[in-house]
Symmetry: C2
Subunit: 142 residues, 2 copies
DNA sequence: GCAACAATTGAGACAGTGTGTCAACAACAC
DNA sequence: GTGTTGTTGACACACTGTCTCAATTGTTGC
């Protein structure tokens, strides 16, 4: 991952390694602030801005991808570069990426009907994953 | 619009009227902060929290609908209740709502393939409207 | 019209998620 | 080892809200 940064002309620094270490191997999505909090424990001198900047860089080189959670807050997940969308579990945060994009046809039609020059779109699907669905809720419904 | 509020058991108050006045008749989307700024001029005593609360109430009774702009920030637009999506001009902010939702098929397939219990989705399309496209940019490209 | 009640308000503190600045530092090329 | 320049950490600031709480106001019943 570090080499990938170097390949893009970014320097390999201690703080960046720390962020990469904190991020690599995560299957679940995470927010920038989660990484900040975690690194505060192992490397208290590491600044908040550095974490934000590094995550941004990692996303820009497609090591991470950024997406919106159900509450509208941004989060990151390792991998899944390219044109993908996400199916996000509202309960545990598990993300399933999918490449099938049903918007293409729609975009063509919208473009024709409205004469807009379509630039992009945002599609996120929210639901509850099988694990969370099977688990009984912490507080039993009355 | 005020009667609609009353119909839902909300009181018709001065501040709420002011917010409704500021909002009604707008064809373009607006952010809560825009309304706050505008009302600051005509009714400086009106609080920020009140504007946020009132917009939220108006959205809850389907007088407004809330959506995300291209930059991820929330905005409101008058009307368009129900299941709609938005095509947003990244330049002037014009919104075109559309009801056609290509996600239904996808949701069914995703649900089958991933075993998620799909709850909802977020779809916004971004582009440049014909007016903005025809206008020469303020700073000529070099 | 008036009083009582409860909803609503305004002010301001606080939170989450970033961005911008700037002097000090450190990675890298030589 | 040195010089250059990208990077860092600290911190201020911005935006978009949410929350609290005493004061105010709309509404209802008389």
């Amino acid at each position: 991952m570090a080499e990938l940064l170097a390949g893009h002309g970014y320097r390999i620094t201690g703080p960046r390694r720390a962020v990469i270490d904190a991020v690599v191997g995560r299957a679940r999505p995470f927010t920038a602030e989660q990484i900040v909090a975690e690194l505060k424990r192992v490397a208290p001198e590491l600044g908040r801005a550095t974490v934000y900047r590094t995550l941004e860089i990692l996303a820009s080189v497609d090591v991470l991808s950024r997406f919106l959670r159900a509450d509208g807050h941004p989060a990151y997940i390792v991998g899944v570069p390219g044109h993908r969308h996400h199916l996000v579990c509202s309960d545990c945060g598990t993300v399933v990426a999918f490449t099938r994009c049903p918007v293409d046809d729609l975009v063509r039609d919208l473009s024709r009907d409205t004469d807009f020059a379509i630039q992009g779109h945002l599609l996120e699907v929210f639901g509850v994953c099988p694990e969370c669905r099977d688990e009984p809720p912490a507080i039993a419904p009355s």
